[in-house]
């Protein structure tokens, strides 16, 4: 039974086309030319309870609009959206009690008051039982290290500190689903790692469903088993991250370092049954590229390990950025 169901979702915005120059601006005062932008256009997907789904796409593709419809901020132009059986914008109170939301660009906390006061207000708003509340704060503190931040007003926090507090705040009421819109934007590596660990832990411990939008594809790689890809308001890929990688780019590179020098002819002879390319910078370092659909990487590695004195061996997949870039390029060409 899916926890989120989206059927033929459309969200249009009316934008007026600005005419260029000052003269154009004056003309716009009297008569505006409106155009309808389909921010989200006939989108379908469903998400099961407990999934961590990565939602990716370029700027303006419709990611945030989808999230805003799912969270009940925006009213869809047409189509059906059900989250735990509720219509988000209609049954707003019931709906938002069950979800947590983090917008990386904008805090959900109260700007002028201390973090702890914000948390206390949330405890009142969501009517969280005191014992649960304290237990969760304690638990979140262990991963996110919140204690030293609790007395500080939100506006004095650094971006990373603020994000840790925002994440904790969004999960205090134990929501079934959490929407994270760019949770790692602008953060340094250590905080990113910390936040990913936290998301993983919440998902495992409480079974919280996570919908994550991000520009940092390493977030997706580390957290998500499933990817939704959107472009120009349409879903262009929905499936496993691995299948996406293999489907788009089956090329692999094997990096080999040997203890003794190896000759090209010797290596070519050893690997003569496999369709592959070999390159080397020196007789100790080799780079072997092949297509994973033609060559079984495990067999290849086994052969190399049993025939040569190997110091180091490693298999490289193409970086996900490269894959995503190719998907979008392929679409543009169409």
């Amino acid at each position: 039974m899916p926890i989120i169901e989206v059927n033929n979702l459309v969200k249009d915005f009316k934008r007026y086309r600005r005419r260029p120059g000052l003269g154009g601006a004056f003309k716009d005062l009297w008569a505006r030319k409106y155009e309808t932008v389909h921010a989200v256009n006939q989108v379908n997907f469903s998400i099961d309870s407990g999934e961590i789904v990565g939602y990716i796409g370029p700027n303006g593709a419709g990611k945030s609009t989808t999230i805003k419809v799912l969270t009940g901020i925006l009213v869809p132009t047409s189509g059906q959206v059900r989250v735990q059986g509720l219509i988000p914008y209609k049954q707003r109170y019931q709906h938002v009690k069950q979800i947590g939301v983090v917008f990386g660009q904008r805090t959900q906390l109260w700007w002028d008051i201390a973090v702890m006061e914000s948390f206390n207000l949330l405890q009142k708003i969501y009517e969280i039982p005191m014992s649960d509340y304290q237990a969760r704060l304690e638990k979140f503190d262990q991963v996110l290290g919140l204690k030293e931040l609790l007395e500080v007003p939100v506006r004095k926090l650094s971006l990373g500190q603020r994000m840790r507090c925002d994440l904790a705040a969004s999960l205090l009421h134990n929501p079934k689903i959490v929407f994270l819109d760019e949770p790692t934007i602008g953060l340094d590596v250590a905080v990113k790692a910390n936040i990913r660990e936290f998301i993983r832990e919440i998902n495992q411990e409480y079974g919280t469903t996570v919908i994550l939008t991000t520009h940092d594809l390493s977030d997706i790689e580390e957290l998500c088993s499933r990817v939704l890809m959107i472009d120009a308001g349409k879903i262009i890929y929905d499936g496993e991250l691995k299948a996406l990688k293999d489907g788009v780019d089956a090329s692999r590179r094997l990096l080999l370092e040997t203890i003794f020098p190896v000759k090209l002819s010797g290596l070519a002879d050893l690997l003569k049954d496999y369709p592959l390319d070999m390159q080397s910078t020196d007789p100790y370092h080799w780079e072997i590229s092949f297509n994973r659909n033609q060559v079984n990487a495990a067999q290849l590695m086994h052969l190399l390990l049993s025939s040569l004195d190997v110091r180091d061996i490693g298999l490289e997949e193409p970086p996900i950025e490269e894959i995503v870039r190719r998907v979008y390029q392929a679409r543009k060409v169409q």
Binding site: S64, I73, R106, W110, I125, Y126
Partner: protein, 278 residues
């Protein structure tokens, strides 16, 4: 009362208490953060007080030279002015965050956050800021009223005190309704609150007898943007009980009407909210 009705009414009670509790938590938080910056708090308080005084001096200078204007005695005019300061003070004390709504919440998209909490959206916006400095406005208004009444040799019965309080609160509802409706327009037009600033400027008309304006303006201030009901008509009820008596008693009704209108436009506006696009 049937048990069904009983459950409904106790749920309703519970919800009301819940909101009161939250409102209180917010007020105390907001006061705490305000007091944390002592200098800023006092500077704001003094600046506000001085703005008041300039207004008072202006009225005193203008009407102090003449014993009466269009049949209104100097101290009657002072009383009306004082009443208007009282209601403006009450309004801005609790509802000044309304003036942030167009720009900060709607155009810049802070309203997203409001819609993500399981609370009434209007309640959240209002409660976010209490403008404590306005207490000086209220005090100045009350002092002017007492001073004028003293000169007019009018003494008030306890029931009249209560009535004045009721009138002031009704007047507050009128302002609340008018500004809520104006602010809600931003949900559709995405302007930065131009209508709001016009209505804000027009509040200056509220402190004087409407009979000194031309008939057109008098009509507008009575029946379209009913600022005359925020000070003049209720004040006259004390000054000259025989005159405009019906008008004075219309004040609560007009307050409720405009409050309802404001809430209705707000509700419709929230549905049209477009956030900041994608």
């Amino acid at each position: 009362m049937s048990s069904y009705q009983h459950i409904i009414s106790s749920l309703y009670m519970r919800r009301t208490l819940f909101y009161i509790n939250l409102a209180w938590a917010n007020v105390s938080n907001s006061l705490k953060s305000r007091l944390a910056y002592r200098e800023d708090f006092w500077a704001g308080f003094i600046a506000n007080f001085m703005t008041q005084m300039i207004g008072v001096l202006f009225v005193a200078a203008l009407f102090g030279r003449v014993p009466h204007v269009k049949g209104w005695y100097r101290y009657e005019i002072f009383y009306i002015y004082g009443f208007s300061q009282l209601t403006l003070g009450l309004f801005f004390l609790f509802f000044s965050n309304l003036f942030e709504v167009s720009e900060r919440y709607i155009v810049e998209g802070w309203f997203d956050r409001v819609l993500l909490r399981p609370l009434d959206s209007f309640f959240q916006v209002i409660i976010e800021r209490i403008h404590f400095e306005e207490i000086s406005n209220i005090l100045v208004g009350l002092v002017i009223m007492l001073y004028s009444l003293h000169h007019l040799k009018i003494s008030l019965s306890p029931s009249q005190h209560l009535m004045i309080l009721g009138m002031a609160l009704s007047a507050c509802l009128i302002y609340l309704g008018v500004f809520t409706a104006a602010v809600s327009a931003t949900f559709w037009f995405n302007d930065r609150g131009s209508l709001v600033s016009v209505l804000h400027l027009m509040q200056n008309f509220s402190g004087y007898p409407v009979t000194i304006y031309g008939p057109k303006l008098k009509f507008i201030l009575s029946w379209i943007i009913p600022y005359a009901f925020t000070a003049f008509y209720p004040a006259v009820q004390v000054l000259r009980p025989s005159k405009y008596v019906l008008y004075a008693w219309l004040t609560p009704a007009i307050g409720l009407l405009f409050f309802g209108l404001g809430m209705f436009t707000w509700k419709q506006g929230v549905k049209a909210y477009e956030s900041t696009g994608s």
